[in-house]
């Protein structure tokens, strides 16, 4: 393995193996090449059979695709994980407090720590939520924090996903697949289990039930339907939680509660884990032409008779302009310095920053403030002259719509290729559950990996793959 400018999580620059991977490396070295090649092929079939597919938007046919899976695990030591969880807990607690504040007294704005225009201009800001506190005071029930690594002790938060973070089914199924393919590996290397995530999710959601819930709270997963790109995950989570998988057309408001049409008649739901966006929740409050939502659900919600997870209006957290203020936000609500740093971010709305960004465009990554999924972003070093000048024009026209970040030296981890191990860039999305008295982080997460050599884009919509993520036991 040649030394490179990037931090490789498995190999040191001299080619020796880091501690986290020593157990894996020993096992790997003992395997026949032909066996590994066969398993490499089997893995794809395993996913095709279980139906873990996603639909790609914008393709002619609503085609189901597989996300490439790489069978070399991404390994994190117990020590590293403990440090990460402290930082994540702090950040997520701050996000939740920020949401409450933003929809109530707005102390943080009064204190002059973040500017008011930041959320006033934000499409995810929901006036309906002002002055209302969701059951248990929880806004961000499920959060995915995207982390990148650049060195032994250098982890950065790249994005906060509090709208409807997806991908957790890959965390679970990647592990299942690995255990089915290499059972003996798990007997040799002690790895923290992730398989109880659905149970933890069900428990965490139930703890956020409204006061009117009787007995064991009824939880339902609300999906846009089988044509949604993440439908498989919605069905998977519902099945694993023992919850109903509902669509808008199954629901209506009955006697002041949101109720689902069962074979027994309409039955009230206490907690809705929605995987539809805010604007489709309630045609009476938002998009009148939406068939995905439930007319009147927002009235029930504001009367405190149903929990919606995540709370409407939390999409504000995903905004990349808000992101740039996260150090201030964490400090304001926790009174502590952030344990997990942000990536340096230039807000193009600021004239000086814009000038800097335009001067250095070919070295920066520029993102849409409201974008997600890797769409509409510019990766300066990989862009052609033409792309750079086109993007510069967009920036000048709408500077407030963009932020810029340095091109990060993302860490690498090897993937399996028929010619042996080859390093690829990756990131990490741990999944965080928030209930009134607890922030619960499952040891592991979704590791996304760029399958192309040298590529820094890990999004599945742009050809990225996934890996099983191991947190080692002490």
């Amino acid at each position: 393995m040649a030394a490179s400018e990037f931090f490789d999580e498995m190999h040191k620059p001299d080619g020796s193996v880091r501690d986290a991977y020593s157990g894996y490396q020993k096992w790997y070295g003992e395997q026949e090449k032909s066996f590994l090649k066969r398993k490499h092929r089997d893995a794809e079939n395993a996913f095709r059979r279980t139906g873990i597919t996603f639909n790609v938007y914008g393709e002619d046919e609503a085609e189901e695709r597989l996300i490439p899976f790489d069978m070399v695990p991404r390994i994190i030591t117990a020590h590293e994980w403990r440090k990460l969880t402290k930082g994540i807990e702090q950040r997520v607690s701050a996000l939740n407090a920020f949401m409450h504040d933003l929809y109530h007294r707005q102390e943080i704005i009064r204190a002059g720590r973040v500017p008011e225009h930041l959320f006033r201009n934000n499409a995810a800001w929901l006036p309906d939520m002002v002055g209302f506190t969701p059951p248990g005071g929880v806004y961000t029930h499920i959060v995915g924090i995207d982390l990148v690594r650049t060195g032994p002790d250098e982890f950065y938060v790249l994005e906060d996903n509090a709208r409807t973070p997806s991908g957790v089914s890959y965390m679970l199924e990647n592990r299942e697949t690995m255990m089915a393919m290499f059972p003996e590996l798990f007997m040799r290397v002690p790895v923290e289990s992730v398989s109880n995530y659905p149970r933890r999710l069900a428990k965490s959601l139930a703890a956020c039930a409204p006061d009117c819930a009787e007995g064991r709270p009824v939880v339902a997963v609300l999906t846009p339907g089988i044509f949604n790109s993440a439908y498989f995950e919605h069905a998977f989570l519902a099945e694993q939680m023992g919850a109903e998988l509902v669509e808008g057309r199954d629901l209506r408001v009955v006697d002041g509660r949101v109720a689902m049409r069962t074979t027994w008649g309409y039955k009230p739901i206490d907690v809705i884990y929605r995987r539809v966006d805010d604007e489709y929740l309630d045609p009476l409050s938002f998009s009148p032409d939406s068939v995905l939502g439930v007319p009147g659900i927002m009235d029930v919600y504001r009367a405190g008779r149903v929990t919606i997870a995540n709370a409407p209006g939390t999409g504000v957290c995903d905004d990349k302009a808000i992101y740039s203020f996260m150090p201030e936000i964490v400090e304001f609500y926790t009174g502590e310095k952030p344990l997990l740093p942000n990536v340096q971010t230039w807000r193009c709305s600021d004239p000086d920053s814009l000038a800097y960004v335009l001067d250095n465009l070919s070295e920066l990554v520029v993102k849409e403030v409201h974008g997600s999924g890797g769409y509409g972003m510019l990766i300066g070093p990989a862009a052609s002259k033409r792309e750079l000048s086109d993007f510069a024009a967009k920036l000048r026209a709408h500077p407030e719509g963009y932020i810029a970040q340095p091109t990060l030296a993302l860490s690498t981890c090897p993937i399996f290729t028929n010619r042996g191990l080859a390093p690829r860039h990756l990131d990490l999305r741990p999944f965080v559950l928030v209930s009134p008295d607890k922030v619960d982080i499952t040891p592991g997460g979704l590791t996304r990996v760029a399958m192309k050599q040298g590529s820094l884009v890990v999004n599945s919509s742009q050809g990225g793959g996934t890996k099983d993520t191991w947190v080692l036991k002490d």
Partner: protein
């Protein structure tokens, strides 16, 4: 369970049964065509297409009847909404809708079959491949049913799956018999004449009942015996009586679970009363065609009532 989910389960298994019956019918046609000269073979395929109720659609596309055209039309023609390929698309899409109500074993059984069959039907099916395609389609039903029996909780979903299966089976068998009823009507012309036993065989083969029938009747083939076997013999799992009894059990189980009987149970009881103690003479007295049309009508009213009783649709 959600009404919509119950609906998807019910239809998933109806379509599965439909695909399987289509495969059995094609299998019978294939077998007949192989044992005849080319003129009769053309007749056989006309009869298969007709039995499946595809005559109009087929003749809109083809002027002649050949095996290759016939099975490709029934297996994979894009314009044939009842083709096996389209039926499997429905099966899988209903399975996806009901994904949280079926076990992984059932899902994988259906998904595996779909991937295999989709692949097999991606291009025209020639003589060398048609046999294995039909086997794969039949096996899809066997796999899914086995997975249901071996892995699903004996709750609502289980009974909706079987109710769909037996509603569809009864419907398909009755339709096949009705289209062949002119063969099954014992008439003067037939008594004593050498009625084409190959045709009788075809009727039995269409519902995969030829070996069972021979086993029970020591090789004696006659119209009365066949009708008795296909309508009233509860030992044969593709007879009307068997399908009906199995449907009754599943509807009774649903009523037990819900603690209340609905219209579907009432209609089932009425239908039972009409069938109980019925002899084959009664069937012929009434007229086989009339009997079968009444039966299919009652069967589809029960299907309708299940949907209403259990709130399949808003």
């Amino acid at each position: 369970m959600l009404g919509r989910t119950a609906n998807s389960l019910f239809w998933m298994f109806r379509y599965l049964e439909r695909a399987e019956n289509t495969a059995r019918l094609l299998d019978a046609g294939l077998r007949m065509a192989l044992t005849r000269d080319s003129v009769s073979a053309e007749e056989e395929w006309r009869s298969v297409i007709e039995t499946a109720g595809h005559r109009r659609g087929y003749e809109a596309k083809h002027a002649t009847y050949t095996g290759m055209q016939a099975w490709n039309y029934m297996l994979r023609d894009k314009d044939n909404s009842a083709s096996v390929l389209n039926t499997f698309q429905q099966i899988r899409s209903n399975a996806r809708e009901a994904r949280s109500a079926i076990t992984s074993e059932v899902w994988e059984a259906v998904n595996d079959s779909w991937l295999q069959i989709k692949d097999m039907l991606a291009r025209p099916v020639g003589e060398q491949r048609v046999g294995e395609v039909l086997t794969a389609v039949r096996r899809a039903g066997t796999l899914a049913h086995g997975a249901v029996l071996g892995s699903m909780l004996r709750e609502e979903g289980f009974h909706f799956a079987w109710a769909g299966t037996f509603i569809e089976r009864a419907d398909n068998i009755a339709r096949i018999m009705d289209i062949k009823y002119y063969l099954l009507l014992p008439s003067l012309s037939y008594v004593g004449s050498s009625m084409d036993t190959g045709q009788w065989d075809m009727v039995l083969r269409s519902v995969s009942g030829d070996s069972a029938y021979r086993w029970l009747n020591a090789g004696q083939i006659d119209a009365r015996g066949i009708v008795n076997f296909l309508v009233l013999d509860e030992r044969f799992p593709r007879s009307l009586a068997y399908s009906h009894a199995a449907l009754r059990e599943n509807l009774a189980a649903l009523a037990r679970i819900h603690g209340i009987e609905g219209t579907s149970n009432e209609l089932m009881r009425e239908s039972d009363m009409r069938l109980s103690g019925l002899s084959i003479e009664d069937v012929f007295d009434k007229g086989l065609h009339k009997f079968l049309t009444d039966f299919t009508a009652a069967n589809s009213s029960i299907a309708q009532a299940i949907g209403q009783d259990y709130r399949f649709l808003a």
